[in-house]
């Protein structure tokens, strides 16, 4: 009887250690997953600043739409003033182009077409091209913040020189 108790104790103890081990390893595995997520999330980015210097306003003649290929924005000089549009199609992210002969912005991928103000004319694009925040800095250069959308046609969305 006493022997059996000892034996049972022994079995229980073995089971306890087994559970301890496997449990630790499971936690370690879970921790490693969290750890991997933390590791894989970059802490710094080597990407150009979202704020783009578009130069002096007089570079853009009245009623012109100018594509800055590097930063993917349009600078539009309209009667109301200067404003900036994203040049990235809202459908699948292709870079659109300004077609002066058609007086519209066209996407080469799936044929979406937009007005000069970004409004959709036709095509699969679900939304109009978003407007970006634009302002003048102290040196008189136009700056565009690509990370900030602003309301289309709103007073503050234009720069008037």
């Amino acid at each position: 009887m006493a022997d059996e108790t000892i034996k049972n104790d022994e079995v229980n103890r073995r089971q306890f250690f087994m559970k301890l081990g496997l449990g630790s390893l499971s936690i370690a595995a879970a921790g490693t997953a969290a750890f991997s997520y933390q590791y894989l999330e970059p802490n710094v980015l080597f990407e150009p600043s979202p704020v783009v210097n578009a130069g002096k306003p007089d570079r853009y003649p009245l009623d012109s739409v100018t594509l800055d290929v590097n930063s993917g924005i349009y600078i539009v000089h309209s009667q109301e003033g200067y404003f900036s549009l994203s040049a990235v199609c809202t459908h699948l992210g292709c870079l659109t182009a300004w077609k002066p002969e058609l007086n519209m912005i066209a996407c080469p991928c799936h044929g979406s077409k937009f007005e000069q103000s970004g409004k959709k004319i036709e095509g699969p694009a679900p939304k109009p091209l978003p407007w970006k925040r634009i302002w003048l800095n102290d040196d008189g250069d136009l700056l565009v913040d690509r990370s900030t959308d602003v309301q289309a046609q709103a007073r503050d969305s234009f720069v008037r020189v």
Binding site: Q38, Y39, E41, N43, V44
Partner: protein, 264 residues
């Protein structure tokens, strides 16, 4: 009474899905245990039973196991490191710095990778000498010994190719010195040097070559040979032990028993 975790686990093990994945199931019967080894794609490289004597630390010092352990650590740390590493000059160095300074725990992973690599070279050497002194290369394990020598060379090559990747002064000059030894080979030395580096000096080409060798070719080759190495242990009769040798052979091997043999 609420079910315990164990009961839930037992229920889980009883499901069809579980059974369809893990054929053997658990249990303390010898059969179940043998099946656990035999029916696992990785474990079936081992025999289902080993000699009790071989479990003792002094028999093997677990050097083979530990070497495998370092290899596993190296794979587990090396793959995450690749996410932040561009094998280009001088970006490689900047990436190493970034791993050290801005990637969460990047420094830890790189440290672990580096020290494990050193540990693996050391353990492989130790393993080889231990096997030699135990005489475990003897028939029928000759070929497994040869595979072991190949694995030793691969370990050295893996460590050597990895040495260049941080693209710092230490790496650059160690590889320059090391690779110039290759050009000492008569007749074809220059060619080997040229092919190894992808040029005449340690430069961007060399870095890319070493990267591919270090991350693709050598690890795959090493895994291939490791599999054979393990499988051959089973096929050659399990871990070597003097006492498992036939008496006559053992008598020959254990020469301190020679007088007794002559007496017979």
């Amino acid at each position: 009474m609420a079910k315990t975790v164990d009961q839930y686990l037992d229920d889980l093990r009883g499901t069809r899905v579980w059974r369809s994945i893990f054929r053997s199931g658990t249990g303390s019967s010898t059969l179940k245990r043998a099946l656990a080894i035999q029916q696992n794609v990785f474990l079936h490289l081992f025999s289902t039973k080993v000699r009790t004597r071989m479990l003792s630390f002094s028999a093997t010092w677990y050097l083979g196991t530990l070497t495998l352990g370092t290899f596993l650590i190296l794979v587990a740390t090396g793959i995450p490191l690749m996410f932040y590493y561009h094998p280009s000059v001088p970006q490689a160095y900047a990436d190493t710095k970034d791993l050290q300074f801005v990637v969460s725990s990047g420094l830890f992973l790189r440290n672990l990778h580096r020290w494990s690599a050193h540990a693996m070279v050391f353990l492989v050497f130790a393993h080889m000498f231990k096997v030699f002194y135990r005489g475990a290369y003897r028939t029928p394990r000759e070929f497994n010994w040869v595979i072991g020598v190949i694995l030793l060379l691969m370990t050295l090559l893996l460590s050597y190719t990895g040495y260049l990747l941080p693209w710092d002064q230490l790496a650059y000059w160690a590889i320059t010195v090391g690779s110039n030894i290759a050009s000492a080979v008569p007749v074809m030395g220059e060619k080997i040097h040229f092919l190894l580096l992808g040029g005449n000096a340690v430069n961007a080409n060399a870095l890319l070559r070493f990267y591919v060798l270090h991350c693709m070719i050598l690890p795959l080759a090493a895994m291939f040979f490791v599999a054979i190495h393990f499988w051959r242990i089973r096929k050659d009769g399990g871990l070597y032990s003097h006492d498992s040798e036939p008496a006559a052979l053992r008598a020959n091997v254990a020469t301190d028993a020679a007088p007794a043999k002559e007496a017979q």
